[in-house]
């Protein structure tokens, strides 16, 4: 095998390139992050707006001392909702009640709802099956079937709120019973009201 001067120069050039070529070193680390956000709807006790306050059981106690010109018995409690769904509704139902022992009348109860919202929240719209829209202060009880108390067409959070402290919509329920000598003495009745947050 013989190499001409021309080929020799070519080989020499290749050799020099091989000798002085810079090795290519890897110098990157890549992190591919996949974040999947699931649907979530949460109800908490307004007085305990934390994980421990989810799905609250709120007790209202109405104690009547009949008197002339007496003050009606009232109590209240609130709950907060949060959802990242763009469509939601708060449904109200009455799963159980027994007002027989106190001899109470349905039209002697009054329920009042008020809605407030945190600074990073979008409130919903009251609605209901009573004749016309359900107005705050509607007489108790509502129809036996479940009905919509309020609904929304956007997620409750209007802005980033990493601590979830101001992205809630709050509903306060006030219950009132007329003061009346008609009620049985030392008797107790009950009414269960259940609120469900649904985001289809």
């Amino acid at each position: 095998m013989k190499i001409s001067l021309k080929n020799f120069n070519l080989h020499l050039a290749v050799l020099i390139m091989v000798l002085f070529i810079k090795p290519v070193y890897s110098q990157t680390a890549t992190y591919n992050i996949t974040i999947t956000v699931m649907s979530s709807s949460v109800i908490t006790d307004a007085a305990n707006d934390a994980l421990a306050g989810k799905n609250p059981l709120i007790n209202n106690a109405l104690n009547i001392d009949p008197d002339i010109g007496g003050v009606n018995a009232t109590d209240s409690g609130g709950f907060r909702i949060r959802t990242n769904e763009n469509s939601w509704m708060v449904l109200l139902s009455v799963p159980g009640n027994d007002l027989t022992p106190p001899n109470a009348m349905a039209n002697q109860f009054t329920l009042t709802w008020t809605q407030t919202a945190g600074s990073n929240a979008m409130a919903g719209t009251f609605s209901g099956p009573f004749p016309g829209p359900l107005m705050p202060g509607a007489a108790f009880p509502p129809p036996a079937s479940m009905f919509t108390l309020a609904s929304g067409a956007s997620m409750t959070s209007s802005a980033r709120d990493n601590t979830n402290t101001n992205n809630y919509v709050q509903f306060d329920q006030s219950t009132e019973l007329l003061s009346d000598f008609f009620y049985d003495v030392s008797s107790t009745g009950f009414v269960d009201l259940q609120y469900d947050l649904q985001a289809p």
Partner: protein, 216 residues
């Protein structure tokens, strides 16, 4: 000149001998090397983090730890065994990060929502001690990918001594390259009811960049 061409012939064996001699006589000139590996020294690692969760009243939510090994060889000239024999050291290098991936139309999750927490640099090996580092981000604090976009330098390493900077040059010692900095931190993601129900895919790419001395 002219039509007369001189031709010189060499036997292939002679040519190869000359070439081999050149290789043996020249010191191995290797410019500053750097590498990023995972915890088992696989070069150029690609990590996949899958976070899935539902917004709830807790903060922060799901996290995942990231850890990589950083090596920067400070030598410019090494012998055939990989030991430093001369040349100027590099004096500064940086760990940088770039982020991308959140390009969907109006995604609710933005770079500001992905956090990096518990930033930590751990030194392994002797020679690496010739470098000190400073991290612009608070090691115990939390910063976001948006912070990185505004300031991509995660940490700056400075060294003024001649010789192997990160110890990667000391292959002659044990051949294991067990001198490195470990960069570790936690990726965090905060539960927020503001985020749309969907999947987001941001990415973070870390690189080593020589910024001082005789950079290659």
């Amino acid at each position: 000149m002219g039509n007369k061409k001189r031709k010189t012939t060499f036997k292939a064996t002679t040519f190869l001998l000359i070439a081999l001699s050149i290789v043996l006589l020249l010191p191995t000139k290797t410019c500053s090397q750097n590498s990023i590996t995972d915890s088992t020294n696989n070069l150029n690692p690609v990590f996949n983090f899958d976070f899935s969760g539902t917004p709830d009243l807790t903060n922060p939510s799901f996290t995942g730890t990231q850890a990589i090994r950083l090596r920067q060889c400070g030598c410019r000239i090494m012998d055939t065994m990989g030991a430093c024999t001369g040349g100027m050291n590099i004096t500064q290098w940086e760990l940088r990060a770039t982020v991308s991936g959140l390009t969907n139309p109006d995604p609710e999750i933005q770079y500001m929502d992905v956090t990096i927490m518990n930033l930590n640099f751990t030194l392994m090996g002797m020679s690496a001690s010739t470098f000190t580092y400073s991290a612009p981000y608070n090691a115990t604090g939390t910063f976001t990918l948006e912070d990185i976009m505004n300031n991509p330098v995660i940490a700056t390493f400075n060294g003024s001594t001649f010789g192997p900077g990160m110890g990667a040059c000391n292959r002659a010692t044990n051949g294991t390259n067990n001198q490195y900095w470990t960069y570790s931190s936690d990726l965090g993601f905060t539960h927020d009811f503001f985020f749309d129900v969907m999947t987001y895919t941001p990415s973070v790419v870390y690189t080593i960049v020589c910024t001082g001395g005789n950079c290659p």
